[in-house]
Amino acid sequence: MFNYLEYIREKNFPHIWCAGCGDGIVLKAILRAIEKSGISLDETVMVSGIGCSSRTPGYVDMNTLHTTHGRAIPFATGVKHGNPKLNVIVITGDGDATAIGGNHLIHAARRNIDITVLLYNNYIYGMTGGQCSPTTPTGSRAATAPFGNIEPPFNTSGLAIAAGASFVARADVYNVANCEKMIAMALAKKGFSLVEILTPCPTAFGRRNKMASPVKLMEWLRDNAVPAAKWKKMTEEERRGRMETGVLMDVDKPEYTAEYEKLVTSLRTGK
């Protein structure tokens, strides 16, 4: 048994998320990963934007910031720049981070600023009523795509890799041990890290896509989120519609706040 009560604001429970929403499963994985990483809660700041997942900071007993739609990363950038010693965690969703906040995401990755972005991908705008997001799969139904989505989705992890992120992983809440592990690795990484976490939204996505029950959505993750070792052995045909999980990118490169510090020092000392 893990003592979650040490880390949460118990008075705000039960939380607001729907029955079977994956957001609570991710939150628990984050708390275990934080404990495992041994990072101090006093030196950790959790920043979110707007959306169902962005309610997370309200439930954790640490320094928290609930900001405006799509702007969690800019706020987090400011926090990290102001005090580079802090561990800065961004909680965001597919709508928040890849649509309205899409530019912030790619530029933070390009800059390689040392923040950890935990991007909950539930393929839909849950809070506002089930509109298509940039990750809604082609053919899936949404409030704005009642006959099925005709657009191709973003590969969010691929986007972060292309933009220059130093650590990118994908995880899902069915394989919850891997989810915790990927979050712990991202927390430990010096540089911009992103974990795309596949998580069910039974209310806005599942109900429209013949997976109304949370169990159905978990089974869908079980059958379609594939660990890297198995993925490597799969044919193109078998991969279609499925998602690879595990570490997708892990490189070391100059980190933004450290480079800034170097510049300041060299200007001050003239060296």
Binding site: M1, F13, A19, D23, I25, K28, V215
Partner: protein, 69 residues
């Protein structure tokens, strides 16, 4: 106090906080030993003796409602 060395052999103590359980059925559906059932829209411990303490129910409960010791 519990003795450490025999901890893993002790029967599991599974607790469900009914005020927080939203009845999603995730714990029930994926318990490998069918220890849990649904009753009145909430999870209920039915066969605690079969529990192998895999912890999957606790790990996957979205509502912090089930714990295994």
């Amino acid at each position: 106090m519990a003795e450490e060395q025999s901890a893993s052999k002790k029967p599991a103590v599974i607790r469900i906080k009914l005020e927080w359980c939203k009845g999603c059925e995730i714990c029930v559906a994926f318990c490998p030993k069918k220890v849990l059932v649904m009753e009145g829209g909430k999870a209920k411990v039915e066969n605690p003796g079969d529990c192998i303490k895999c912890m999957l129910c606790e790990l996957r409960c979205p509502d912090f409602a089930i714990t295994v010791e």
